[in-house]
């Protein structure tokens, strides 16, 4: 058995910010953040310049697990079409959790309504990385217009995440035929 080190105040703040922003929105107060993290406000402001910077850093910290949950392995032997569909199967599986509130990066950008906010910039970049994955697979799969297909796939990703997150659609039987229609139209077999 290994002894687990208690997370540092910095990590506790990042965890609290990520969790509270996802469940309650970016309007969460500094008091609530510090209380949840068990860190004083004084310490928080020693670690982060502002709540905005804390929020941006918390989104940055989520990126590796976001990508690990969604993307297929780099050495995956499946076809580009199957690798693209894999992402959407993961979204469908995750959306079944009662705690699912859609894509955290889309929600933050919609809530902040300010593309220049530090957290919006982080969120935008991480979603651009996902779009780049789609584009790479679209090229590998011989899509007629890989850029268009990548834009269509991230649009479907945001649409399904948002609608499942607000409980407007349970996604059953929706994603596979939608993505398949776009892949077929793009010529990705």
């Amino acid at each position: 058995m290994t002894t687990q080190a208690k997370p540092s105040p910095r990590d506790r703040l990042l965890d609290a910010a990520a969790r509270l922003a996802y469940l309650d929105g970016v309007g969460i107060g500094v008091e609530a953040l510090c209380r949840t993290a068990g860190v004083s406000k004084r310490s928080m402001y020693q670690l982060f310049e502002s709540k905005d910077e804390l929020l941006a850093a918390s989104l940055e910290r989520l990126a590796p697990s976001f990508e690990a949950r969604l993307l297929p392995g780099a050495d995956d032997a499946r076809s580009p079409r199957e690798r693209i569909l894999h992402v959407f199967e993961q979204v469908e599986a995750e959306s079944a959790s009662p705690a699912y509130r859609g894509c955290p990066y889309l929600a933050v950008q919609i809530e902040l309504k300010d593309a220049d906010h530090p957290a919006s910039r982080v969120a935008h970049r991480i979603k651009q990385d996902l779009t780049a994955f789609f584009r790479t697979e679209a090229v590998r799969g011989g899509a007629r217009d890989p850029e268009l297909l990548a834009r269509q796939l991230i649009l479907v990703f945001d649409g399904v995440s948002a609608r499942a997150g607000i409980r407007a659609d349970d996604l059953a039987g929706l994603i596979a035929p939608t993505v398949a229609a776009l892949l077929d139209a793009a010529g990705v077999a």
Copy 2:
């Protein structure tokens, strides 16, 4: 020339709630709402039980103009395919405005994170009406699975509104081929 009556306190509150929630989010305070509307807090609470009820009523009040802007006329002679595409052409045109922040009903539901909030319930119902329009046209257009096509179209509607609203995509050249691929796959000529 007709003399225009000054809007009532009730209408001024509804306008302020709709405008501020759209531009700044549902977290807007009662103080800011009342100041913008030029109405005292006391009067606000005589007219509305709570800020939540005011927000819900403001979304309800937006519905006729939301539908008038997006939907084709009932006596429109165009084909179901063209009538469906009309909705998306309107979204693309609206999204070019610097004030565009995406679909107000989607944003409110994402921000509230509570499907039982009175404003979420109103938003959900108004979007169901738009989904019903898509379903009706899908049936008229002979779609193989009208329910599936309607779910796909509202998914694309929410995806494009969200991505244009956060300035992640300017929609140029995106919507028409996406909707066309889904209509083609559904057999709607």
